[in-house]
């Protein structure tokens, strides 16, 4: 393998990994605050992409307005989902709320199939995102350069929100002990809604960026990215925002390099992601950057 070829593979890996990282951040943040694995995250991701698509094609909004409106609407949908599917179960055993999340995921997928139809749709990609840049022998699409920038910007923004703002302090308090937080006059419902809004906003943002890179929409498009990013989040240490980014990049890197160096195993690409998940759960369940802590259930 020549240096040029390797650099191209590396670029591909960075671009795929940063996309995984971006979506994994949303996953891990909701888990970090609420100890809830939101299995509907991938479906919210799908809704965000579809909303953006319809706002551009039906409401004929300029793309950047459509994208912002879609992200805002999806955040509201996420808050609504928490009200309906998770809040009534907050004091129930954790398994109930997880099953509710799986149910919500199926419900959203099937409603989307009824509403949007099963046939895939081609996403509208503004020219600015589809320019091909040549850096020496390496070719890369502009969207692939933007995604890592967005990922790190969002990582910085989230770390700032969680660690340096009042609502972030409340989020950390709720995460540590929900009852003690309530005793400190923290409005737990508002904090949880805010967390879900933020998580869904990130999912929608990820969905739109994903569709700009792979411009194909269908009602089940969120399943695989959802699972992969869940793996990325666990790999890095679920609940740890920096860990999610690390996990995302690692997963992208593993996937691309396996195809690059072992092309005969390409058919098992997804299997490798799951094998990685199993290995992490067996060897270091808290993930690469996670802290070992006794889970109280």
């Amino acid at each position: 393998m020549t240096i040029a070829l390797f650099l191209q593979h590396l670029t591909n890996a960075l671009s795929l990994g940063s996309l995984y990282a971006l979506i994994a951040i949303g996953y891990t943040m909701v888990y970090g605050i609420l100890r809830l694995i939101n299995f509907a995250h991938g479906d919210i991701f799908m809704l965000g992409a579809y909303l953006a698509f319809y706002l551009v094609t039906l409401a004929l909004l300029p793309w950047w307005v459509a994208f912002l409106v879609a992200i805002a609407l999806t955040a509201m949908l996420g808050i609504g989902l928490e009200r309906v599917a998770y809040r009534p179960l907050r004091d129930s055993p954790r398994i109930s709320i997880m099953i509710s999340a799986i149910g919500a995921s199926f419900l959203i997928e099937n409603l989307a199939t009824v509403l949007f139809g099963g046939r895939p749709k081609g996403f509208v990609v503004p020219d600015i995102f589809s320019q091909v840049l040549h850096l020496g022998s390496v070719s890369v699409v502009s969207i692939s350069v933007m995604i890592p920038i967005f990922t790190f910007a969002i990582l910085a923004l989230l770390l700032w929100i969680v660690h340096s703002t009042k609502v972030g302090m409340a989020m950390r308090a709720v995460s540590t002990d929900i009852d003690a937080a309530r005793l400190q006059a923290i409005d737990v419902n508002r904090v949880v809604s805010f967390t879900f809004g933020l998580g869904s906003l990130l999912a929608a943002f990820g969905g739109i960026l994903w569709s700009l890179k792979y411009p194909q929409l269908n009602p089940t498009m969120g399943i695989m990215p959802g699972l992969k990013c869940f793996i990325a989040a666990v790999l890095g240490g679920i609940g740890n925002i920096g860990g999610a980014v690390l996990g995302g990049f690692l997963l992208g890197f593993i996937e691309i390099m396996i195809i690059a160096f072992l092309p005969n195993l390409t058919g098992y690409r997804d299997a490798f992601a799951f094998v990685a998940l199993i290995l992490v759960l067996l060897l270091k369940p808290s993930g690469l950057l996670g802290k070992n802590q006794v889970e109280k259930v």
């Binding site: 009200r83 099937n110 099963g118 895939p120 081609g122 390409t266």
Partner: protein, 386 residues
């Protein structure tokens, strides 16, 4: 807010119940013959399924009845969604033969899905007519599976000839959807013929795999870039193929892309936009050749209803339905074994996409039409006779 918290879930459950309730309950009155439509309506192959159903429904509207034993029966279509999934496909086919008791089955788009239904129709002795599933194994050794299209050994020859003679290619790379029997089969027949034509066993520089529903192909394509082939043969599902081409062009690969019949869906162009320009593939039917008889009847009816030109698989859906009612008429019986025998004896049946004579395996021997994407449209190039 307390009320909202309690009533909203109930409302949602009610909404789901409504959606589920919409599934049509079939009544079995005496003068109805049921024909099962076994197609992917959701999932990766949904567009293919939807187009074939369009053709079947158009034919059903034009010819809604069949006379058996002097009595007129109304044809009822029972659509079973196989969800583009081999496991779901078996369940859907089982439902059609067990619960719906259909007299014949049409479909499915996607050879793998048809193959999943094969043992079930054979067991139940219900004849099935594949519309555009081209893998030879669909009908081979199965007395109850037929089809109204050509098969991949022919399609592979056609595309290998095109690559060698028209595109002037001497080397090729194969990109195949490894979980799809159609893609792997067609790639193999292309490879065999291309090797024969070039007389060079090393003319296939590499075979690269991907899975259905994959979205990122940059790793495979980067390998191709360094091999610099004359053509890339990439049969596979339409959206994946469109993404393969898009990402190839973005990586600076300029070799022409050749493929098979599955590419002819609006989604292929919709997803790939201008980056799928020049994609060339073989298919079953072209409006340009439809100047007389049933072809003209079909094209006129389709244009009148949808005000656009029909894709090839829509014509095959139309033909499959007509062949099914023709076989029922010839059998003059509702017995599925007799309908099967009538189907097997099909000779010179005039369909929208050419004349159908079924051979010993139940395959039709038909011409292939080569089309290419030009200015965002599928454009007819030439026809190749078997």
């Amino acid at each position: 807010m307390k009320i909202a918290g309690k009533t909203l879930p109930i409302l949602l459950v009610a909404a789901v119940a409504l959606v589920a309730g919409c599934a049509k309950t079939s009544q079995s009155s005496g003068d109805v013959i049921k024909i099962g439509v076994f197609e992917p309506m959701t999932g990766a192959n949904a567009a293919g399924g939807a187009m074939e159903v369009e053709g079947i429904k158009l034919a059903n509207e034009m010819y809604p009845t069949v006379t058996v034993g002097g009595k007129e029966y109304k044809i009822e279509l029972v659509i079973a969604d196989n969800k583009s999934d081999k496991v779901e496909a078996a369940t859907a086919a089982q439902r059609l033969v067990d619960k719906e008791k259909v007299s014949a089955i049409l479909g499915s788009w996607g050879s793998s899905l048809s193959m999943a239904a094969g043992p079930i129709v054979l067991d139940a002795k219900v004849p099935a007519i594949g519309l555009s599933c081209t893998n030879p194994l669909v009908t081979l050794g199965n007395d109850y599976y037929f089809r109204v299209c050509f098969i991949d050994p022919f399609q592979g020859t056609v595309m290998a000839n095109y690559a060698y003679n028209v595109a002037g290619a001497r080397t090729a790379v194969i990109v195949q959807e490894v979980s799809n029997d159609y893609s792997v089969g067609l790639a193999k027949f292309f490879t065999d013929n291309f090797k024969k034509l070039t007389g060079n066993d090393a003319c296939i520089l590499s075979v690269l795999n991907y899975n259905t529903n994959d979205q990122d192909f940059t790793a495979q394509l980067t390998t191709i870039k360094s091999l610099n082939p004359d053509v890339i043969f990439a049969p596979g599902n339409y959206t994946e193929s469109a993404l393969v081409m898009k990402q190839a062009r973005e990586l600076g690969i300029n070799a022409p892309f050749l493929g098979g019949d599955t590419w002819e869906t609006p989604e292929f162009i919709d997803v790939g936009k201008k980056l799928v320009e020049g994609a060339t593939f073989s298919t079953f039917f072209a409006v340009e050749g439809a100047t007389s008889g049933m072809s003209k009847t079909f094209v006129d009816a389709y244009k009148a209803k949808y005000s656009k030109e029909p894709a090839a698989v829509i014509a095959l859906g139309f033909d499959g339905y007509l062949l099914a009612i023709d076989a029922i008429k010839r059998a003059d019986s509702l017995d599925t074994v007799k309908i099967r025998d009538a189907l097997a004896a099909t000779k010179g049946f005039e369909g929208a996409a050419g004349s159908i004579t079924l051979d010993a395996n139940g395959d039709a021997n038909k011409s292939a039409f080569i089309k290419t994407v030009k200015d965002g449209k599928f454009t007819y190039l030439t026809v190749v006779n078997p």
